[in-house]
């Protein structure tokens, strides 16, 4: 009996019920895990670091290593300078990373720790680096933490030598390692030399070798991050996650950027491929053309089962925008589209999409929560729910087919290894969507209506 939600929609201004977001530091930790030989460091109480590592471990089913300043009562009164100094010394002594990426927490922000000056005053071992970013938990969401950490790295490390390196920079946004592998595959097929930043592939999807290593060798290297200033063009994916870092690179080193939606579905993947093509000036190779053709073929074959179905989509802004676009390509009506991240840009972008497909009667909201979504569904149901594991209770209470996508997925395996992006990712998602809808049709069919051929 998980269904405590009533259909009587409850207007709230102070109480958050069943959130669709979490706090900045976990985003910073995830971003820092995408840098080679980097120790993410949480400057705050020990619980923060422990919670973030736990949620990342539960999503990726991999170790997520990070250290903590382990604030005590004293630190909260006198500031965390001595904690960070001790921590940095200990981390280099014991774990020997090349770099420590510090992010703040609500506590260190509120007591006013000045990390810039703390780090400036540090006596670091030869060849070691410490960078930081501010991630106040009470601003934005984990998505802000992710891009703030990216900008932290860029502020400290990027340079411009004056000699362009002939590469494109690619910001993947907050995606799974399986997505990053697919983005790289496409860029390689398009003949584009690139710097992917950050890059959690090889880190949070590292293979089983029987050996445990803190630093797996995966991740964007420090010279690669430094070279971002020398790249000729930036392709930034995920307008909301990668927008600010893209602006920063433009402002700091005059690297022009193309800001695109997360490449989910045909149209958005096409946009990514076109951006790469603009850079390489090469033909789209047969391998990609073929895969795109397969995807279109699949949409055509399956459209009688998807067209006109109503879906609710929730999660982080960029992945939700991408999935909404894919749903619209399938003829699915995205009845409710929400994110917990407070960004008006989200609603603008989703509404623009709905307008483009001439779909009406949908509800789009940022800064929303899952209790609210559940109440809407009670009033006007949907036939498909797409989002993180936290949709599970709604799906069960309302008996709605449910597809897991986004972050976090705590109750299924293999997801982080697989792409949602690209033509391959779209084929995978279409299979999932069709399976969910058609399994439901089979389950609900009277014996005489059960079809062998569909």
């Amino acid at each position: 009996m998980l269904d405590l939600t009533t259909s009587n929609v409850m207007e709230r201004t102070a109480l958050r019920v069943n959130p669709c977001k979490t706090c900045q530091p976990v985003g910073a930790m995830y971003a820092a895990l995408g840098v080679a030989n980097c120790m993410p460091h949480s400057h705050g109480s020990q619980g923060c670091c422990s919670y973030h590592r736990t949620v990342l471990s539960r999503h990726f089913k991999e170790p997520a290593v990070a250290s903590s300043s382990s604030f005590t009562e004293g630190a909260s009164v006198f500031g965390g300078r001595s904690n960070i100094n001790t921590a940095v010394k200990n981390v280099f002594d014991m774990y020997d990373p090349d770099i420590i990426a510090v992010h703040t927490t609500c506590l260190s922000e509120t007591i006013g720790d000045d990390l810039t000056s703390y780090i400036m005053d540090m006596d670091l071992p030869e060849g070691k680096t410490v960078v930081h970013c501010n991630t106040p938990s009470y601003v934005g969401s984990h998505i802000n933490g992710f891009f703030n950490m990216m900008m932290g790295f860029m502020n400290y490390l990027t340079k411009k030598t004056g000699t362009p390196n002939g590469k494109a920079a690619i910001f993947p946004g907050w995606v799974n390692p399986g997505d990053i592998r697919e983005l790289k595959r496409i860029a390689t097929l398009m003949g584009v030399p690139y710097v992917m930043f950050p890059d959690q592939s090889g880190v949070l999807d590292a293979p089983m070798t029987g050996k445990y290593e803190y630093f797996t060798g995966g991740g964007t290297t420090l010279p690669e991050i430094a070279s971002l200033g020398d790249t000729e063009q930036l392709i930034a994916l995920g307008e909301i996650t990668s927008g600010e870092p893209a602006e920063l690179l433009q402002k700091k080193w005059k690297v022009p950027h193309t800001l695109l939606p997360m490449p989910v579905g045909i149209a958005y993947t096409d946009a990514y491929v076109m951006a790469l093509q603009k850079f390489s000036k090469k033909e789209v190779p047969e391998e990609l053309e073929e895969q795109r053709g397969q995807l279109v073929d699949l949409l055509l074959d399956s459209h009688p089962y998807t067209h006109g179905k109503k879906a609710a989509i929730f999660g982080d802004p960029d992945v939700v925008i991408g999935l909404t676009s894919l749903c619209l390509e399938l003829g699915i009506v995205p009845k409710y589209v929400i994110t917990g991240t407070p960004k008006d840009e989200f609603t603008r972008r989703v509404n623009a999409l709905l307008e483009k497909y001439n779909v009406e009667g949908c509800t789009v909201k940022a800064n929303a929560d899952l209790f609210e979504l559940h109440q809407w569904i009670k009033n006007e149901p949907v036939e498909l729910l797409i989002g993180s594991t936290y949709g599970k209770q709604i799906a069960k209470a309302e008996d709605i087919p449910f597809i897991r996508a986004g972050f976090p997925v705590l109750d299924r395996y293999a997801g982080p290894l697989m792409p949602v992006v690209g033509y391959a990712g779209a084929i995978r998602m279409v299979e999932k969507i069709c399976d969910a809808l058609m399994d439901r049709q089979d389950r609900d069919a009277a014996d005489e209506d059960l079809e062998i051929v569909m």
Binding site: L2, L4, T6, M10, R12, T13, A14, L15, R16, V17, N18, P19, K21, T22, C23, G44, S45, Q46, G47, C48, S50, Y51, R53, T54, S57, E62, P63, V65, A66, S67, S68, S69, S70, F71, T72, E73, A75, S76, N83, I84, T86, A87, N90, V91, M94, C106, L107, T110, I111, P136, S137, Y138, V139, M208, G210, K211, Y212, F215, F371, Q393
Partner: protein, 455 residues
């Protein structure tokens, strides 16, 4: 990076004990910069109180602390599922500047006006920054209690204010706060079960044993607890304490304030489960609460159950005997039970660590294990890795953060924490535990670990 003995932090040396160095240093803060497996004060308070099923748990602070603790414990409920929702004030920048008390009051008001079912008990958890920005949470709670005539109990648990153990204490104080207005009750024959969180329904197994013996269970704290059942707790004759780490303090307080004595119990493994059932029956008899029929029946019951489970142990023993185990759990008492349980299976415990073990618990641990077994307080992954490899552990028993570590090292794993798959307590739990250990140690997956698959 390969970890060698030389890169154990010097500050950590006294927290590790082996035959060269007896007597462990524990119950202290973690070292800054260590990749500790430990959580915080808030976490301790939250995990103890969360299973109170019909309470509204409002986390007052920025969203993270509410997100990370939303429905994370596999505590089962026979009634309300309210506790499986997440409520928070989701503090924003303006609240940090102007104070969050207004928003907290508004959140309580919204809940009282609109929530279904109507709240009877609300816990307000104050996280790290609440004290720093000067919110008077006590005053907000007092005002809400006066306004609505229900219980609104503050749990002021800033993460930095100590270790997870302190959070347990705060939770225990909050539970006492629920009980206090109901302290003047007539005592009746029956027990309270303290420190069992009904993970995978474990508390129900234990409860059934006592009910079968004719011992009523009055209140369970906090697995499957409700406001109503907590208010009846003061009427019990005896408290039994399963997870001493989290609840020994509550038992002490209930002894002092409510005159309810307690016994420590552990329902993990044949030895401890049998001994615990008998100990409870004997304690009730010694207190003059029952006749000698109950102690006699308890012995018969334990013997009969042991006889039933022994064949399972004998069946699996040949597949498991001679293996080596590493244990890394929260409390010392659980570690002790696990060592005994492994001994029953012929498995030697080679590494044992806890997050919040007490001095006396470490003394028991050191009496149970061989001289060369490594004992660790507040271990971090580097140490766990080093000693598991050094000692050739075949299986690790731990929690969520240790699982991937074990797998990466090619070591089998059993979750004995929030994510346990099956009940591991009582006689039924013994069978589940053995099967889980066997499943992981003897999984076919291990043969694919090498460069080429074994044919």
């Amino acid at each position: 990076m390969a970890v060698t003995t030389t890169n154990i932090l010097e500050e950590r040396a006294t927290s590790i004990s082996s035959k060269q160095r007896k007597g462990i240093s524990c119950e202290k803060e973690s070292v800054s910069g260590a990749v500790s497996q430990r959580a915080c004060v808030y976490c301790g308070a939250r995990v103890v109180l969360n299973p109170i099923t019909d309470a509204y748990h409002i986390v007052h602070g920025p969203i993270g602390c509410a997100s990370y603790t939303w429905d994370i414990r596999g505590s089962l409920s026979s009634g309300s599922e309210l506790y499986r929702n997440s409520y928070s004030t989701d503090l924003r920048e303006t609240d940090i500047v102007f104070g969050g008390a207004v928003k907290l009051t508004a959140a309580i008001d919204e809940l009282m006006e609109k929530a279904n079912p109507a709240p009877k008990l609300i816990f307000i958890y104050a996280t790290c920054i609440v004290g720093v920005i000067g919110d008077d949470v006590d005053a907000v709670c007092r005002a809400a209690e006066a306004k609505y005539g229900i219980r609104v109990i503050p749990v002021k648990a800033p993460g930095f204010s100590g270790t997870k153990s302190l959070g347990y204490q705060m939770a225990c104080n909050a539970i006492l706060e629920v009980m206090r207005p109901h302290r003047e009750q007539k005592k009746r024959f029956g027990i309270n079960i303290l420190g069992d969180y009904n993970l995978a329904g474990e508390m129900w197994i234990i409860k059934r044993y006592f009910e079968d013996l004719g011992i009523p269970v009055i209140s369970t704290i906090t697995g499957d607890a409700s406001y109503e059942s907590l208010t009846q707790a003061p009427s019990a004759t005896l408290n039994i304490v399963q997870c001493a780490g989290s609840s020994a303090y509550l038992a002490e307080c209930m002894d002092e304030e409510l005159g309810i004595p307690y016994v420590k119990v552990s329902f993990f493994g044949v030895e401890d489960t049998s001994a615990s059932i008998i100990r409870v029956a004997d304690a009730l008899y010694a207190a003059g609460a029952c006749d000698d029929g109950i102690p006699a029946r308890a012995r018969e019951f334990a013997a009969a159950q042991t006889a039933k489970v022994m064949p399972v142990i004998e069946k699996y023993k040949p597949r498991l005997a001679g293996k080596k185990a590493a244990i890394f759990v929260g409390g010392g008492f659980k570690a002790i039970s696990l060592i005994r349980q492994f001994n029953e299976l012929g498995i030697k415990t080679v590494v044992v660590g806890t997050q919040t073990g007490k001095k006396d618990e470490y003394a028991v641990i050191e009496s149970l294990v061989d001289g060369d077994t490594i004992v660790l307080d507040d271990a971090n992954p580097a140490e766990l890795e080093q000693f598991m490899l050094e000692k050739g552990a075949d299986i690790l028993v731990g929690g969520v953060k240790e699982r991937p570590l074990a797998y990466k090292l090619g070591v089998a794993f059993c979750d004995h924490n929030h994510e346990r798959r099956h009940p591991l307590a009582g006689f039924a739990g013994i069978e589940n535990f053995i099967k889980e250990i066997n499943m992981s140690i003897n999984s076919p997956v291990w043969q694919y670990l090498g460069k080429e698959a074994a044919v």
